[in-house]
Symmetry: C2
């Protein structure tokens, strides 16, 4: 497993505030699964909450509903192909961890796995909201632990450098953007 | 108003699939307002739906609840400072369109304005879900019209070029990322 540092919960939203595509992992009854999700966002700062869209057709959905847990993993560009692959195969037919040789470690608080090689990880407990889960495939979670690769996130701030690791941002049809240059648009402190 | 082309509704999700920070506009009872929102995402393909977090403290929230409409505007890097500014001032105290000299045009379907200089615009009708609006500040909308700047989006695909216009992705404290290079991680068609 690559190195990781704990991220203070009140700063966890910063791992996904800029809209990266995420990998969702889940675990229940001895089975783990992994899928990708372009549709996720922070929902609150402290305690941090997230929202993510999990389609009815996915094997992950059953594991998440049964366990009440999931992890949002933030892949680097090196994992873009894997992000596509786990978004097209279904865990009902294949153990994707074995099929794609995906290394992972157990979460600290939840049982869903943390995927090796990611930039950040948010361990989440499902906030049950059956109506919106059913009507919109919309799942809410409270972040109960968060981690980051210290090479790109120091626990509170991103450190994206030229030639360094990057988050990826899915469009459609296999096409992504990588995140680009950081910049400061105003006085420190405004707009937070 | 800068040039814009209609985006087919089934492709509208692509304007925000990569996680840009958006500007939310609203209009009711002769008042328009404008705020920024880092927390938004697509919620469905066709008919397209979106989710966005609108805090209880915002003046926009009252306008959106009363009118049942809003627009998600996707700002370019040139609008980063404005995106910060409209995220810190409140429309209850000042007409931000006048105060910041913001040019805009009426929406085609909804009354909320389209902000000049953006890369894309999604006109939305609120899908009322009072429980999650109240409990999580979470607002859902159906996209009823969508537009893009033809310089960056041809109606179905992004065309981000070196030195060209870029979407912006907010982190915290005035710090953004601009979107970076596009790349294709797999065979065309996979992962869509």
């Amino acid at each position: 497993m690559n190195r990781r540092v704990a991220v203070e919960l009140s700063k966890a939203y910063r791992l996904m505030n800029h809209g990266p595509t995420v990998i969702v992992t889940s675990h229940h009854g001895g089975r783990s699964n992994i899928m990708s999700a372009a549709w996720s966002m922070p929902l609150d700062f402290d305690p941090p909450k997230v929202a993510v869209v999990i389609d009815k057709s996915t094997f992950s959905r059953g594991l998440i509903e049964a366990s009440g847990e999931f992890v949002l993993n933030i892949p680097s560009r090196e994992l873009a192909r894997l992000t596509l692959d786990v978004g097209s195969a279904s865990g009902s037919e294949v153990d994707k961890f074995a099929a794609y040789g995906i290394a992972s470690a157990a979460g600290a608080v939840v049982k869903a796995p943390l995927v090796e090689g990611c930039l950040g990880w948010l361990e989440c407990r499902l906030i049950p909201e059956p109506h919106i889960q059913q009507a919109y495939d919309l799942f809410l979670g409270e972040v109960v632990a968060a981690w980051a690769d210290p090479e790109v996130f120091d626990g509170a701030h991103w450190k994206v450098e030229a030639g360094g690791k990057r988050s990826i941002h899915y469009v459609a049809g296999g096409h992504f953007f990588e995140i680009g240059a950081p910049f400061n648009a105003g006085d420190a402190g405004s707009g937070e």
